[in-house]
Structure formats: structure tokens, C-alpha cells
């Protein structure tokens, strides 16, 4: 699948944003985080900013963005529509939560309830995003049991690392949060490795034989319908060379998992300004790493239409 930047950025940014939002909603509402104005402003701002930027980015990928409102109508059948509904719906509790915290300076009571609702909505939204990919049977790498947990884990992971960076920045970092980040990053790494392992061994029942109805033997593409690349090939025929793939997987692992882990572990040991800097660096590295991971998520996904083109 073509790794369009708008979509790569969208899923990465909203994943992190919803993760952060959910964590803030729960932790602030339950009093684990003080109702500090700046922390609230930066925290909810960052979460909603990432979400909003991601959504805008995905809208930029639309052919007719002015009609985007229509996407809320088909929630009964379409995970994309559900995602649209959920993402917008999330803004309601999230907005109340942010208003309560930032403008009213409180995170208890109805604000806490709003925070919980925002967290639930954020999780639901991430689920809908994941389900968009899970539901696509033509793409076996996505249509798997690894995809939805992956979205949730990565959302939690990137959200937590962001949260940690924030808390550290405000001087209220905690080893529990740090430990959570480390555990989630380890989980994310493990999940990614498992996913790759699964995908690399995937035996897809759909072949050039079933695609053409020509049973037995091998079916080789002789000529394409058009000699130049068309929409299908540009959108779904993306290929990444094996050696690039290996290198990119290494880069993704280094940036998204290994480096953040090292930085976070170092943050345990170091005093505040250093811990804060390392935590921020961990978040930045992980975000960059997740962009690479998400790029690979698309680039390595093989759509059945490529079978028609001998790819």
C-alpha cells in the first residue's frame, strides 16, 4: 500500500494524541496529576493538537474535503464513519475536560467524569481506527489479530511516553509513570516483532491463481492493461525493496523502541533537568520511530490487486 504521508502522520499523531488524552483523562481526574494550569494547557493542548492535526492531515488526503461532514452518516456499517463519529464525539468530553482543567482550574467532579469519558472515547476512537484496517480483507497484513491490539498498544505507548515527558518537564515525573512507559515500550516492541514475524510467515490463500480463476500451476503476469502506472498501482502497488525494508525495520526499532528505552532507563537514574530532557528526547525519538513504523505498516502491506499486476 502506498504510504501516503497524510495517513502515516494521521495514524501516528492521533494514536499518540488519543493515548495522551486517555492517560490525562484518567490520571488527572483521579488526582494522580495536579490540576496545574500550565500542565493542563500544555497537556490537553498537546493531546488535542495532535488529534486535530492528525484529523486535518487525513482530511487533506480526501479528494473532496469540503464534503467530509458526510463521513459521519454511515456509522452503522463503516468503521471509517465510526472513526469520524468517535473522533468528533471525543472532542465533547475532551473539550469539557480541558475547559474544566485549564479555565476552571479543577480536575475533580464533573471534570473528572468528563476525563473518564474522554479516555473511553479516545480508546473507542483508536479502536475504530484499528478496525478500519482490520476490516480490509484484501490486505492480509492488516486483516489480522495483530492489528487492533497494535493500534491500542502503540497509542498507549506513545501517549505514555508523551505524558512522561510532560510530567518530567513540569518536574512532577514519577518512576511509576517512567516504569509504565518502559513496560509499554517493551510491549510495543514485542508486539511489533511478533507482528512482523507473523506477517513474514503469512501464507496468503489468495494467489494469482484464485485472482484469475486459473487453477493449478503458476500464473505469471505477461502484460499490464496499460504500460504506465495507474491509480491502482500508485495507491496499492507500492513496493519496498527487501534491503530497504530490513534497514527501515532497524531504524523503526531503534527510534521507536530501543532509543526511548535507553533514554527512559537513563531518566530513572538522572536528576530532574536531565531526566526531563531525556524524556522529551525519548518522546521525540519514539514519534519519529513510529512514523517509520507506520510507513512500513503501509509499505509492507500487500493488497490483492497487486496479484493482477504480478507484484
Amino acid at each position: 500500500m502506498h504510504p501516503a504521508f497524510s495517513v502515516v502522520f494521521f495514524t501516528t499523531a492521533t494514536g499518540a494524541g488519543y493515548g495522551l488524552l486517555a492517560l490525562l483523562g484518567v490520571l488527572a481526574g483521579q488526582g494522580f496529576v495536579p490540576p496545574d494550569f500550565w500542565l493542563g494547557l500544555v497537556g490537553t493542548g498537546l493531546a488535542l493538537g495532535l488529534i486535530t492535526a492528525g484529523l486535518l492531515s487525513s482530511a487533506g488526503h480526501l479528494g473532496r474535503p469540503e464534503r467530509a461532514w458526510r463521513a459521519f452518516s454511515q456509522w452503522r456499517s463503516s468503521w471509517l464513519s465510526r472513526e469520524g463519529v468517535a473522533s468528533v464525539a471525543t472532542f465533547v468530553p475532551a473539550g469539557l475536560f480541558a475547559i474544566g482543567w485549564v479555565l476552571l482550574g479543577r480536575t475533580d467532579g464533573w471534570v473528572a467524569i468528563a476525563g473518564l469519558f474522554a479516555a473511553v472515547a479516545a480508546i473507542v476512537t483508536v479502536c475504530t481506527t484499528g478496525m478500519i484496517y482490520v476490516s480490509l480483507k484484501p490486505i492480509a497484513q492488516w486483516h489480522s489479530r495483530f492489528t487492533l491490539p497494535g493500534y491500542l498498544i502503540f497509542s498507549a505507548m506513545t501517549g505514555s511516553v508523551l505524558l512522561n515527558a510532560l510530567l518530567q518537564g513540569f518536574g512532577i515525573g514519577s518512576n511509576i509513570v517512567l516504569a509504565g512507559c518502559v513496560l509499554l515500550t517493551l510491549l510495543g516492541w514485542g508486539w511489533k516483532l511478533a507482528t512482523w514475524r507473523y506477517n513474514d510467515r503469512l501464507e496468503i490463500p489468495t494467489t494469482a491463481n484464485t485472482a484469475t480463476g486459473l487453477a493449478g500451476g503458476t500464473v505469471r503476469s505477461l502484460e499490464w492493461p496499460h504500460t504506465e502506472e495507474n491509480f491502482l498501482l500508485k495507491e496499492m502497488g507500492f513496493r519496498v525493496a527487501r534491503k530497504h525494508r530490513v534497514r527501515l525495520r532497524q531504524i523503526a526499532q531503534a527510534l521507536a523502541f530501543a532509543l526511548p528505552l535507553a533514554l527512559l532507563l537513563a531518566a530513572f537514574a538522572l536528576p530532574r533537568p536531565f531526566a526531563a530532557v531525556l524524556s522529551a528526547l525519548a518522546a521525540i525519538a519514539q514519534f519519529a520511530g513510529m512514523l517509520v513504523e507506520r510507513w512500513l505498516f503501509f509499505a509492507e502491506a500487500k493488497h490483492t490487486v497487486t496479484l493482477y499486476y504480478g507484484r
Binding site: A71, A208, R220, E228, H303, Y308, Y309
Partner: protein
């Protein structure tokens, strides 16, 4: 709208005979010319005279080499929307632009509702969806919905443009939901198949596989030729034949 009708009154579709298709592209351009002025007009061509030419086509013909232990065969393979009974391209559509008609089973796009998210093209395993980058919406085969019921065409022309044009008679059209229809019987008699049946889309269009001919073995039950056994050999035989 994007919920699939539980049942359609008819299952209109195409039957494509891979045993007969010579890959001449007649269906391809007949489709293009009808539809570029038809229901989903235009079928935009980007850079039509340049190096990055990329147009919208509802019907594309591939060719393959099918190699089995019986030998090799070249197969021409027209590919277009299969008007599936379980069209995920419809259910994934967030706006209701994609829909399957309850009356005849045709899968259509309502362009006015399409936001151009392209998700339907991801959901279609067959590559039947064609994005018009200029208009910003998804387009696709309409099964010539503006021909098959068109009162402004004489009756005999109310078939899809590709079926009308096909010079080898490799394309057929009808109600595949009616087991008594000519197309259903053709499919039954020739062992018509679904494409990618394992994905469960239940395509309406069927493909008739190349006949199980022999590679290069005799399909004519001809005994080997033996030299004439006549006195005087062949010339003697000629003489005798003429004398009879």
C-alpha cells in the same frame, strides 16, 4: 445506504469467457467511450499525451501466462467490477456514496456524496475502483446502468457497452440470480468460477475458464497416417483410385 441489501431482486452481472478472449481491448475502449460521456462522466485522463499518462478506466484487460504441467497457455483477462453480493467497498464507505442497488444488485457510487477517501478502493480485492484525481471522487463500472434501461436506445442496444462491442462474443450479460437465465446456464455448463472466492465477496460476475484442452495433444480422434498399402506405392494408389 451502505448497508448491503439482504437480498436483491436480480443479480445483474457479466460472464467473461477466458477461453475465447483474444485480448483485443474492444471492451476496454467501448467502455471508456460510453462511460466518459455517461453516468459517471468524465473518465478523466491525466497527462494524456505525456510521460505520466494515467486515465480512469472501468475495464482493463491483462494478459497472463498460465504454466502447468500440461504446458503453457496465454490467457487474456478482462477485469472490471464484479458487482459482488458482499461488497466491502460498499460497507466501508463512510458517506453512503457507495451502494448496492436492491433492485438489480448493481454496485454504484453516488458521486455527489463521495468525499474521495479511497477506502473503497482498498476494500475491493479486485481493483475495480478507479479514482478520478481531477474530480476528486471514486468512479467505477456502472454495468452501463444508463444503457440497460435506457428508453432512448433501441431495445437491442440495451446491453453493457463492453458486451455489445466484444468481437469474439467472449462477454455475456444477464441475471445471475435466476438459475434459468441464459447466463446462469452458460456458467453452469462451462464451470464458471468466482474470483478470489476465499475472501467471501461473492462476486456476481463469473469467469469461464479456458477449456480443458490438451496441451498439444490431439483433441481430434485422428488415427496416425499410414503409407498407402498398394502395389506400386502411392502412384499405384492414385492409379487405382482413378480407375474406380
Amino acid at each position: 445506504m451502505t448497508c448491503i441489501p439482504a437480498q436483491t431482486d436480480k443479480k445483474l452481472g457479466l460472464v467473461i469467457d477466458l477461453d475465447t478472449c483474444v485480448g483485443c481491448q474492444a471492451c476496454v475502449t467501448a467502455c471508456k467511450e460510453w462511460n466518459t460521456g455517461g453516468h459517471m462522466a468524465p473518465l478523466t485522463d491525466i497527462d494524456p499525451y505525456g510521460g505520466d499518462v494515467d486515465g480512469v478506466w472501468f475495464n482493463r484487460v491483462h494478459s497472463y501466462e498460465h504454466i502447468t504441467e500440461m504446458g503453457g497457455r496465454t490467457v487474456n483477462f478482462p477485469r472490471s467490477c464484479l458487482h459482488c453480493e458482499q461488497p466491502a467497498c460498499v460497507t466501508v464507505c463512510p458517506t453512503g456514496a457507495s451502494y448496492k442497488r436492491a433492485s438489480d444488485g448493481i454496485v454504484l457510487v453516488d458521486e455527489d456524496k463521495c468525499i474521495g477517501c479511497k477506502l473503497c478502493s482498498w476494500a475491493c480485492p479486485y481493483g475495480a475502483r478507479e479514482f478520478d484525481t481531477d474530480v476528486g471522487v471514486m468512479k467505477k463500472c456502472t454495468l452501463c446502468v444508463d444503457r440497460i434501461y435506457n428508453d432512448n436506445l433501441v431495445g437491442e442496444d440495451r446491453v453493457p457497452a463492453c458486451v455489445a462491442a466484444c468481437p469474439t462474443s467472449a462477454r455475456h450479460f444477464g441475471d445471475l440470480g435466476d438459475p434459468a437465465s441464459a447466463v446462469s446456464q452458460l456458467v453452469a455448463s462451462r464451470g464458471g468460477v468466482d474470483l478470489m472466492p476465499e475472501l467471501g465477496y461473492q462476486p456476481t460476475n463469473k469467469y469461464l475458464p479456458p477449456r480443458a484442452h490438451t496441451t498439444r495433444a490431439a483433441s481430434v480422434p485422428a488415427p496416425a497416417l499410414e503409407p498407402v498399402r498398394a502395389e506400386g506405392g502411392f502412384l499405384g494408389w492414385v492409379d487405382r483410385m482413378l480407375s474406380n
